[in-house]
């Protein structure tokens, strides 16, 4: 049977790992290559790099980080942040990324999703949706959470599936950095709306939140950053805990 995945995410800025609270207040905390290797040795099902300042700073550093990481980690590697074009995707894949996640570019130009999934295959196109609650709906934000597109997140999720996305990485902006748990309502609504896997993100503070993301949020995979990064829990502890709660997991 297919196992649910645990994906540690490393926010990378200028080639260094950081994790912010609500997208600001960054702390420097390590070398991404080394960190990724620790995660993959610890049993991470995938590794995710998010290049958080990629839109307006030197992008070449992330290519180097991806190149080095892919020579040491033999689990899937997803890279997101600041990817604008087919050419950007091509470059990252050539450096050894297995998937790329698109956010702003997918909102602004759906053609990039259609074209890239045709060219490289849906399996490597992840659409990252940063969603913020407004009443009983959610709106899609772009530019690292700075701009409100006004687009309904559920409709957008469905549209991205039709455009060829292989997976959706759904982040609740209301929860991100708060450690109070995923926005379960958002996750389960999107997961029920589409027939592609959903990765839940934003808000994990303890291991029960991971359980909830899968059991209640119906996510195929759970992504977390700070609980792993600051050593609160190891990947192994997380996996054993999920296993003890009856969630299918690779141990």
């Amino acid at each position: 049977m297919l196992k649910n995945r645990i994906i540690p995410c490393l926010d990378v800025k200028n080639g260094r790992v950081v994790k912010g609270i609500n997208f600001v207040d960054l702390k420097d905390a390590g070398d991404p290559v080394e960190q990724a290797k620790i995660y993959s040795d610890g049993g991470a099902d995938e590794i995710c790099f998010l290049d958080i300042t990629a839109s307006n700073e030197n992008r070449d550093i992330i290519y180097d980080v991806v190149k080095k990481t892919s020579k040491k980690c033999f689990v899937p590697l997803t890279v997101g942040g600041g990817i604008r074009s087919i050419e950007d995707i091509n470059k990252l894949l050539n450096c050894g990324a297995d998937k790329v996640s698109l956010n702003t570019a997918a909102v602004e130009n759906s053609k990039v999703v259609i074209d890239s999934s045709k060219k490289f295959g849906s399996q490597c196109i992840v659409i990252a949706i940063d969603a913020k609650r407004k009443g009983d709906k959610w709106e899609v934000f772009t530019h690292g959470g700075r701009n409100n597109s006004g687009i309904d997140a559920l409709e957008y999720a469905k549209q991205m599936e039709e455009n060829g996305a292989g997976e959706l990485l759904v982040t609740s902006m209301d929860r991100d950095g708060t450690q109070v748990g995923y926005d379960i309502d958002l996750m389960s609504k999107i997961s029920s709306k589409v027939n592609i896997p959903v990765i839940a993100s934003g808000g994990v503070g303890n291991l029960d939140h991971l359980v909830d993301g899968i059991k209640l949020g119906k996510a195929s995979a759970v992504l977390a950053a700070s609980i792993f990064h600051y050593g609160k829990y190891s990947i192994k502890e997380a996996k054993e805990y999920l296993d003890s709660k009856g969630i299918p997991i690779r141990i």
């Binding site: 892919s70 033999f74 894949l93 045709k118 295959g121 995979a221 690779r250």
Partner: protein, 208 residues
């Protein structure tokens, strides 16, 4: 020994290259090429493949003489070849992704979409799943039954002769995930992304 990874613009093959180089170290030459003479003179070949069945077959046919060279290598000379993901699927006679497309026809059968049972199973089948080894395969040396491998695909290979199946995985039904017929090997999962057990399979293939 020379092991060649066929680079026919079938999508992203960096991970395949990295994993084979990691396993081969300095003992084995890993070449990445479409040069037909190099392919013919190799000891072993890897046929990767990402994207759709049609896009891979089209990419392969775009390179003049490549499918003949592969035929000569695998069918006439019976040298070891490993197909990965769509690389394996192309062994079939026919694939139904996008449109009906002819495959290499090395192992009779077809490639069709996984039955998602009206949305019960999400597609693509992405992630780690256990393999059920149903027949001993040389590439499974020291691989325990029920080992986890990394999958990402929406289509499955259905061979006519069930005896070629060496492993299946459970997703909607028993999906064929590994085949072996004489010198021809294929995995639906990605050994290059399947951590240490995946690397062991690569090692087994290199050491055939």
């Amino acid at each position: 020994m020379n092991v060649t990874i066929v680079d026919y613009n079938s999508g992203n093959i960096s991970s395949v290259i990295n994993s084979f180089r990691e396993v081969a170290k300095d003992k084995v030459n890993i070449t990445v090429t479409t040069n037909l003479n190099k392919i013919k003179s190799s000891d072993k070949i890897i046929l990767p493949g990402q994207g759709s069945f049609k896009s891979c077959v089209d990419a392969l046919n775009k390179i003049n003489g490549l499918s003949d060279a592969l035929n000569e290598f695998a069918i006439n000379n019976k040298k070891p070849i490993l197909g990965i993901c769509v690389g394996l699927q192309m062994f079939a006679d026919i694939g139904y992704e996008e449109t009906e497309t002819k495959g290499l026809g090395w192992i009779s059968g077809k490639v069709s979409k996984i039955n998602d049972q009206n949305g019960k199973y999400k597609l693509p089948h992405i992630g780690w799943n256990q393999i059920d080894i149903i027949r001993n395969s040389k590439i499974f040396k020291d691989i325990e039954n029920k080992s986890h491998m990394y999958f990402v695909h929406s289509y499955e290979f259905i061979p006519e002769d069930k005896n070629v199946i060496s492993a299946t995985t459970d997703y909607s039904s028993n999906i064929v995930c590994s085949v072996e017929r004489e010198n021809i090997f294929g995995t639906q999962f990605h050994p290059e992304k399947s951590d240490k057990f995946g690397l062991k399979i690569i090692d087994n293939f290199i050491n055939l």
